[in-house]
């Protein structure tokens, strides 16, 4: 199998990794940032072989079925009880999920 012949490898810097980690709301250690910079670059470099494929008139396939907008009767059914919905929550108060302050102080 031939290696891809694209021009510039898809190198992620540690700064790129930190940016994506913030998009994904993931706190990473410095070791993870360094490791992911190398590993993600390698995977993306491998994926770059797709650029060799001519897809100029090819539609995308996000989903393989011809089903669209499947409907059922709009009838109310019993849902989860409040206590069941909250049962796995780390913190609750008065029947609600409780989170820490959105803004500091």
């Amino acid at each position: 199998m031939s290696q891809s012949t694209h021009q510039s490898p898809n190198q992620l810097t540690p700064a790129d990794v930190r940016h994506v980690a913030e998009l994904a709301k993931l706190r990473l250690t410095q070791d993870e940032i360094d490791q992911f910079a190398g590993q993600l670059s390698e995977i993306l470099d491998y994926a770059a072989r797709l650029q060799e494929v001519d897809t100029s008139s090819v539609p995308p396939t996000p989903y393989v079925l011809p089903l669209h907008n499947v409907m059922r009767d709009d009838a109310a059914e019993p849902g989860l009880a409040n206590s069941a919905a909250l049962a796995n929550a780390p913190d609750t108060e008065d029947g609600f999920f409780r989170v820490r302050a959105v803004f500091e102080e």
């Binding site: 709301k25 993600l40 491998y46 989860l80 796995n88 500091e104």
Partner: protein, 501 residues
């Protein structure tokens, strides 16, 4: 090996197939309590070494078995009444802990049951327990489990495959009569091949995913892992069909899949894709698969050389599409509604706001592979990269799908290997993600195209490790691949071989 009860001349009870166990239940030869106890004894005996189960539902399983026996005493019957099965831990089960192999979900007890599991329960199943998986089904070996690695019953220093490795090992080790797995890129078929059992990935849309914790939503399917093809057909028939709670389920009424098992493949056109026999694959695997194809020819099938020219693009397409979907699906793990929240229990350290709590919860709760895929997906979906990676991958996905459509205009089934090698040693690929991904090169394209595939045992390598034959069918072609797999299985004795202990 301890014998379990007296009335089992050929097999101890835990060694039975589902349909053999059911026949004995119907004849009154044994009870569900005896079958269930035999599986639990087997778990006690070997699961300390194999580690297939994350949770053994012992007490509840025996109660369900006793209830099944009482129903049978009262004259009732059902397709799986009193049959003990195991469920991969990515399918939610009301009141029974479900972790997806993730530390982040330690202690999670679902408030409802997945439709696929609910249908097995409605058919009378006894739930033995929840089986190990790579975290959120992301992996090919169970080494990405947040809890422990499952060992292959055929050789304890080898992986069982993954991500449904716990289910495959449970069935191969006779710790369950059958099990459910899930298959996003090969996660039923690959562990089935590496553990020497049958694994079926149904067509996209055939089985409801309601209650299956989502990984790659355009790819995920539930599938059975069983001791023989008949059992796979039986479980598929119980689970298949439309579900109001999953809008991707197909409206077509499922047939009786066991009726398709005629043993007759005369005239069946079997395509053999050149692209699935590649340099670098283990010679014993290629030889066993070619011998299996020759056996199908001897049974009257017509062998047709075909091409699936975009096969080598499946891996890069998959590792763009699946992580992109995963990065969206796993956004829900924020430590608000469920899961282990960082800094809870007094040790908040510097955490004093919601976003930092979410970052820490995810950073501390997810394992390396899950973080890697979330990062990869978030990157390829991010501004400036979407067209180059995600859109491009979806376009090439169209070409992969067309390859199958063109092939199935010529042939009824496609025969190929499941994996390039037999079970690899634990630890051999953990430091190199791309090398691990390559163990799925023969299974990924089936998910990308939405078609169906089955792995059936077809031999052993020089170290007595199992090899699987993959039979791929068109969308909703389950009856054809089950018929071909069954005819092949019945002409060999691979499926009746057992691990040494």
């Amino acid at each position: 090996m301890p014998t379990v009860t007296s009335t089992t001349p050929a097999h101890a009870l835990h060694q039975l197939s589902i349909h053999a166990a059911r026949a004995g239940l119907r004849q009154g030869t044994w009870t569900s309590v005896e079958l269930t106890q035999a599986c639990l004894d087997r778990i006690d005996q070997i699961d300390g070494d194999v580690r297939a189960y994350l949770f053994v539902n012992a007490e509840a399983a025996l109660a369900q078995a006793a209830a099944a026996d009482a129903r049978r005493q009262a004259g009732e019957d059902a397709p799986l009444l009193g049959v003990p099965l195991a469920i991969k831990d990515v399918l939610v089960t009301e009141g029974v802990p479900t972790t997806c192999g993730s530390r982040l979900l330690k202690g999670f007890v679902p408030p409802y049951t997945a439709t696929a599991v609910q249908r097995l329960e409605a058919a009378g199943m006894v739930l033995l327990g929840k089986t190990n998986t790579d975290e959120f089904a992301m992996g090919s070996s169970t080494e990405n489990s947040g809890y422990w690695t499952t060992h292959n019953p055929w050789a304890l220093d080898r992986v069982p495959g993954g991500s449904s490795g716990g289910s495959a090992a449970a069935v191969a080790g006779h710790m369950a009569l059958g099990a459910l797995g899930t298959d996003t890129g090969g996660s039923v078929r690959q562990p089935a091949a590496l553990c020497g059992v049958v694994g079926l990935k149904p067509s996209y849309g055939r089985i409801s995913r309601y209650g299956l914790v989502a990984y790659g939503s355009s790819l995920d399917q539930v599938g059975p892992l069983t001791k023989d093809v008949y059992d796979a057909a039986l479980l598929l028939g119980v689970m298949a069909g439309m579900d109001e709670r999953d809008s991707t389920t197909l409206p077509q009424t499922p047939p009786d899949y066991t009726a398709a098992l005629t043993g007759d493949v005369r005239g069946l056109r079997v395509g053999v894709p050149a692209e699935f026999f590649v340099d670098g694959m283990q010679p014993a695997v290629a030889d066993a698969v070619r011998a299996a194809i020759e056996k199908l020819a001897q049974l009257g099938a017509e062998i047709v050389p075909i091409h699936l020219p975009n096969t080598d693009k499946a891996l890069p397409v998959y590792y763009i599409v699946a992580p992109a979907e995963a990065s969206a699906n796993l956004a829900r793990y924020d430590g608000v509604r469920f899961g282990v929240r960082a800094g809870q229990g007094g040790n908040r350290g510097e955490i004093d706001n919601m976003f930092e709590t979410i970052r820490r919860t995810r950073g501390e709760g997810f394992g390396a592979e899950v973080k890697r895929r979330i990062m990869l997906g978030a990157y390829t979906l991010s501004a400036g990269y979407y067209d180059a990676y995600y859109l491009k991958a979806q376009q090439v996905r169209t070409l992969i799908k067309r390859d199958f459509e063109e092939a199935f205009a010529q042939v009824d089934v496609i025969a190929a290997p499941v994996t390039p090698t037999t079970a690899f040693p634990i630890g051999a690929k953990t430091d190199d993600p791309l090398e691990m991904y390559l163990s799925d090169i023969f299974t990924l394209s089936v998910n990308l195209a939405g078609v169906c595939g089955i792995s059936v045992p077809c031999g052993f390598d020089e170290q007595d490790l199992p090899i699987g034959l993959q039979l791929i069918g068109p969308h909703l072609g389950e009856e054809t691949i089950l018929r071909a797999a069954h005819a092949y299985e019945q002409s060999t004795d691979w499926h009746s071989r057992q691990p040494a202990r």
